[in-house]
Symmetry: C2
Subunit: 594 residues, 2 copies
């Protein structure tokens, strides 16, 4: 029932044909990422995902993480799985080699992490947070902090957390009240309560390294007075061994809709005299360091959306093939498997096609991220970074919203059985529900997209992207087999262009009205970007077929792209209309007449 | 946290201005339904809903119905609430007066039932099933059966169930295997297992009257060999008192995603010698009797969607007003309540406007149902019945799908708190998830809509409805304040007309392709019908304002209709394109290449 089989073939197709694995391999430090290496890594990862992580997913949901007396016990099997995960070296996969990482490109780690998340999203959150903390220390930590923490975090012996949110400070970090008192020896004592701390406490690792946002006594108000501190669960002695228990405790965990195996902790710092920590980077610049990590975290949550969509699709397809119910609509001598019913097929194709599009978009952004970080040419780095910055809110926002649609359809394909928890389809829907919320809600992504990414360069980066979309459109139009795809993409791009021009023109003069259409704009940008990737996918498949391939994989890629063009892209003009014409009526009813 | 306040003002507006309470009052048997009576009933019902049912909703979810040794214990408070519900006479509200019912029109019971469902959907399912069973017995039972069961069922002392589904027979009742053996005394012994039986066992009533579909020994195969039986939990003696325990037991209940307080039972009939029952109506015609009830049940599930949407909106609005977070997007001296953020407002308006549209559509259909049953003129009865038949799959399909969207947004408005179960927003989303599945999935509704309701009269009924929509469009176009609404409705109706004409033309020749677009067609019909109701609502508000009303309620109705026109209706042309152009690609990938 909990089977998961990593879609390695589609992953390789996307990496090779759409994300440009060749170009990634040409980047400094990526020379060893040969096709053979990539295949063998995906192969190993898919085994680990299927054999070790996936079987724990349902148990993790049913048992959940359990709190007792400030300790958290993970569900059966998680501790052992984490040990194997760390021992196999998966944790330092794309970390810097200086402290034991393998330095592999993000394109590859995107695929590997998709597998962890598909197999067991709640488990995958522990390494996700650890990697975020590693990245923050790599970028901003002192040499001593790096030496003290990074080797054990990269190996996976210790895990990491990010402590931002407080009861009065959710999305608005300006409201943070946790305080840090300087000590004579240059360390700090931290006092305050943090909520929603993922893996703030658990029993899978020897130590937990908390990164904590707090205010110094003389700090300015608002976001410019927030500093970042590293606060380990156990203090680390000079020889690297573990010392005293620090005053950082998990005082309760949340009872949540999903990801039950991922402990969401209320953390109390300093209830017994102060939690000892050291300052990361410079005072009052904590938010800047966090923002660097945030892009990575937002991207990763987008991949969670992709991963849950893939898992939900596999489950729904298996059920639809197996469940016999009702005659075929055109008549049949006996009842048929429900996969033969056109509406079930529509649901499955809606799941499949959008999942493929999500993967293409996510991996393309990962490859651009690699180029942005490693390309020898500064202009190339800058160009790729601009693309990444523009697309991060789309990857976070559109992939997660679509994942909710897809996991919802996964339940629907199962009919009445989908509503029964033991079936497992509902877990994917419940788990997906957090992805549009944490690391910034869809509304926050959409405001970032229109308010910063789009308007700060007057739409210049999007213009470049639209130019690339037009090239794809033209290439598809030149192939008579792909003319429907070209037509639908063209209408989508027209709609996106119109909507973007409205946003850029009116944002300065009527920000509230434009912002009311931000999420529809994000959705529009999501489906058009995804439609672009699907058209590229169809073109790549046509190239393979033209060079003589008879692999049935390629015709299915074209059919999936056609489905997207005929069933998803037609929403684009309507969305553009909502962006440009819907905002005023959103705000028409005064707040107290609602 | 669990507050619910029935939207009595909007209910009365819809009843009076859109559903035609006047015309309903003119129907035979409805003379007493004066405005005063209606108001006082809604008033009483809203108190009962808010004070008795709503406070049990969260407990019901957390504790759930519990099974032990073939008995089901309801969550705390449910038994007492049910006693009060029955004693107050709510159960026989719209039942036939011959056996103690009050014979009130469906328009009024729709509003009252909306309240029960908003307040406590899991509770409301018990009377829903009882009412279905009452209706079946009223229509098809013998005089003896009516005398034996109806008075106690109408008073609410006994409850009722519908036993259709079996493990191998979900949506496909042809596969039913439960068998009925005739006895010498004219009764039957029933043997078989039924699943998904709502309130199949509980501790709130003295007796439970099961209606069971089963096969007689000589019955033909398939749906033409299914008979309906009444099988009480306790046999009823000639004097009406309860006799022996019948051989009908609940052997387990399901652990479900939502409606935890509603016991979903596996029922075993005849494990200990046979469950005694009597035949309802004629042999082998059971499905016909069930189908009569099915329309009512499908309609009721549509109202569940409306009710959950209303509750989710009230909760989200309260939170958005109270939660202070972040500065206003145009700048503000201090953090503001999130209701002031444009994207939060967009979500609230998406919830509010669609909820109002759902109510208008549902009540309009209820009023037509009253006319179809009671109008003295046969042509009027027939015309109204045709409208009801056409709209039932839309009420069931569109209202429930939209309720899922709305309860999803309800979680989103709460941000991270929405994912925490104690907040309560997630419960509405989980509860809503069943509504697109039971009483026929959305796919089944959509097939009913295109395959029977639309094509069997070659689109004639829809043509009449489109004519009414055009009249509304013209009236709105004649009012300069409503021109945007008229324009959007016009484009929506054009799209509906095109899509319907495609369906009617191609259904006979290419049924699979057309059926692949059935759900998009249902969604299109839903938003256009709803947009029609919202335009009528704006016209009614304008009339009130023209006659001098300064009630701020009316401008909000116009604003809500504008929102619907500018933010929901623009999806119509895209949906029409999907209906007519999406089907082929749905089916392009062969089943085993998926």
């Amino acid at each position: 029932m909990s089977n998961y089989s990593a879609p390695v073939k589609d992953m390789l197709f996307v990496m090779n044909e759409l994300a440009g694995l060749d170009q990634v391999r040409a980047l400094p430090g990526c020379e060893e990422v040969t096709p053979d290496l990539v295949e063998s890594i995906l192969d190993e990862a898919s085994k680990f995902a299927a054999e070790v992580l996936a079987p724990l997913n349902a148990t993790g949901d049913q048992v959940g993480a359990r709190w007792h007396d400030r300790q958290v016990t993970m569900p059966p099997g998680f501790k052992e799985a984490y040990r194997r995960y760390a021992e196999a070296g998966w944790n330092g996969f794309d970390c810097h080699p200086a402290f034991g990482g393998q330095g592999l490109p993000r394109l590859l780690s995107a695929a590997v992490r998709e597998m962890w998340k598909s197999a067991n999203m709640a488990f995958s959150l522990c390494p996700l947070l650890t990697n975020g903390a590693i990245e923050a220390l790599e970028l901003s930590g002192s040499d001593a902090q790096k030496r003290t923490y990074l080797p054990n975090m990269i190996s996976g012996r210790w895990t990491g957390t990010m402590n931002l949110t407080e009861p009065q400070a959710g999305s608005d970090l300006a409201a943070i009240r946790t305080r840090a008192e300087p000590q004579a020896d240059g360390t700090y004592r931290i006092f305050g309560q943090k909520i929603f701390i993922t893996y703030g406490e658990h029993d899978m690792a020897e130590n937990i390294v908390h990164l904590v946002l707090a205010r110094l006594p003389d700090a300015p108000e608002g976001v410019k007075g927030i500093s970042l501190f590293v606060v380990p669960k156990f203090l680390v002695k000079a020889d690297g061994s573990l010392g005293e228990r620090n005053d950082a405790y998990c005082v309760s965990i949340e009872h949540k809709l999903g990801i039950h195996a991922s402990p969401t902790c209320v953390m109390a710092f300093g209830d017994h005299g102060g939690a000892l920590g050291t300052l990361v980077g410079r005072a009052n610049e904590g938010l800047k360091y966090m923002f660097v990590m945030m892009n990575a975290a937002r991207y990763a949550v987008g991949v969670e959306g992709l991963a849950l969509a893939e898992r939900a699709y596999q489950k729904a397809l298996a059920y639809a093939r197996e469940r016999v119910q009702g005659r075929a609509i055109e008549g049949s001598p006996a009842p048929v498997a429900i996969v033969q019913h056109p509406d079930v097929r529509r649901m499955l194709m809606t799941m499949r096609s959008q999942t493929e599009a999500m993967r293409a978009l996510a991996y393309a952004v990962a490859a651009a991220h690699d180029a942005a970080g490693r390309h020898p040419d500064a202009e190339q780095r800058q160009r790729n970074q601009a693309f990444v910055d523009l697309m991060i809110p789309v990857v976070k926002g559109w992939l997660t919203e679509t994942a909710n649609e897809i996991t919802y359809l996964g339940v629907q394909v199962h009919g009445g059985m989908g509503f029964i928890e033991a079936t497992g389809a509902a877990q994917h829907m419940r788990d997906a529900r957090i992805t549009t919320i944490y690391e910034g809600t869809t509304g926050i992504q959409a405001n970032d997209l229109i308010g910063r990414k789009l308007t700060r360069d007057n739409g210049a980066t999007l213009k470049v992207v639209i130019g690339m979309m037009r090239q794809t459109q033209a290439a598809a139009a030149a192939d008579s087999q792909l003319s429907r795809i070209a037509g639908a993409l063209g209408e989508g791009v027209d709609a996106l262009k119109d909507a973007a021009s409205y946003v850029v023109t009116c944002f300065g003069t009527d920000v509230r009205t434009v912002a009311a259409g931000a999420v529809p704009f994000l959705r529009l940008m999501g489906i058009v970007s995804a439609g672009w990737m699907m058209a590229r996918s169809a073109l790549a498949a046509r190239r393979q077929m033209a060079s003589g391939s008879t692999d049935p994989f390629y015709p299915t890629k074209i059919a999936s792209a056609e489905f997207f063009a005929a069933n998803v892209l037609p929403a684009a003009p309507g969305l553009a209309k909502v962006v440009a014409g819907g905002g005023a009526s959103v705000l028409a009813i005064p707040e107290d007449s609602l």
